[in-house]
Amino acid sequence: MTEPRDEELSRIYREADAPEPPRRIDDAILAASRRAAGSRPRAARPGLVRRWGAPVALAATVILTFTLTLIVSEQPPEFDGVESPPVPREPAASRADKLAQSPSAEPRPATPVPIKSLSKAEAQRNATGQRPAESAAAGEIAGAREPAFVPDAPRAPDVLRERRATELAPAAPAPGASPGRDAASTVQGAAPARGVVASRLETSEAKERPPEKWLEDIRRLKAQGKEPEAMRELAEFKRRHPDYRLPEDLR
């Protein structure tokens, strides 16, 4: 359907005066439009949400998963979930005796000490100049549920190893005190909770002990009539050093 239109009239109309709005009105309107645009951008239109919603959600999920994986993989594993036979406390105490660098010292039975004495032992340790953070770390381990201890933790980071080494620090005696006795009382004072820690540490230490020294210790246990402990130590030694040729007397 044709629309009424007169081209000649349109041409004459276009040649007529074409008034325009004053400049001040232009400025006022444009300023108002900029204020409105700057103040609050309109919420995303439904079409925009539909178009970008799924990819953005997917990207966010991937980033979140990656970040969580990274965080978890970088965290030191406390326990790797492998059950191992519980380490008896008595040997732990005797290991502590050895740690006290007192080869001639008589083996002492592991006597449970009331929790009260823990603070005493703690105070003694503090007197040796141990940092509070280290004590806190030790307390954290001691306060944990008695775990299935895993002697060989290849993935354990250096930080944990350092913590365990710190536990061995009582070997440094308090001034004026018998070194062996101090060390023993420190470790015994922490029993039974600290017995777990001590047994962990002794295994850790055993890991780093030279084979010759270890065999010497086993011989000494045998000489002292501690046959079961000697056998256990020997078994552990074989497990750790399967290629080591044992001397005749220990085969």
Binding site: E3, P4, R5, D6, E8, L9, S10, I12, Y13, R14, E15, A16, D17, A18, P19, E20, P21, P22, I25, D26, A28, I29, L30, A32, S33, R34, A36, A37, G38, P41, R42, R45
Partner: protein
């Protein structure tokens, strides 16, 4: 060279916070919209007031704007409604008794434009504007919407809230009367 974005695209960009899009839209339509209001209101003061009000409505509608029609149809509909409100408020009976029968229209001959006006284009333009201001409001509006807004018959009908046939009738009357004005006093 890229194609200029359409009015609707510019308005959507403005809705998303692009102030430059509004500038472009405003530059494109400021003159025609102002002239439409000026021709219909009859004085510059009222035209400026209405003009500013229409654009502020455009600005304020950015939160809920959706493309349902051409931007020009939408903005001239706003302007038309503002004019109606203005005339109602000022007590003027606008658009009353201006509809004429098609029968009368059929009898009006398509006049030739006078020869001297063909040569003197400036005078012809003055004569046309004078005749335009003398037209009934509805007929003048149909003509100005066609010339300034470049609206089709359907868009004129939508913007002014009448049927297509009514819009067509108004436009034809306007054209015939304007052409007749250019024939006289040659």
């Amino acid at each position: 060279m890229g194609v200029d974005p359409g009015d609707e695209e510019l308005m959507l960009r403005y809705c998303d916070g692009d102030a430059g899009a509004f500038d472009a839209l405003y530059r494109r339509h400021r003159g025609p919209l102002y002239r439409y209001l000026l021709r219909q209101a009859g004085n510059a003061g009222t035209a400026e007031e209405l003009f500013q009000d229409v654009w502020m409505r455009v600005v304020n509608s950015r939160e809920r704007y959706e493309v349902r029609a051409k931007f020009t149809s939408w903005v001239y509909a706003i302007a038309h409604n503002r004019l109606m409100d203005f005339h109602r408020a000022s007590g003027r009976a606008w658009f009353l008794s201006h509809e004429e029968s098609e029968a009368v229209l059929e009898t009006v001959p398509a006049d030739e434009i006078a020869a001297d006006l063909r040569l003197d284009r400036k005078r012809a333009a003055e004569r046309l504007l004078s005749a335009l201001s003398a037209l009934p409001d509805a007929q003048r509006e149909a003509f100005v919407l066609q010339q300034e807004g470049d609206l089709s018959l359907d868009e004129i009908a939508a913007a002014t809230g009448v049927s297509r046939e009514t819009a067509k009738s108004r436009l034809r009357y306007a054209l015939v009367k304007l052409r007749a004005s250019l024939r006289q006093e040659s």
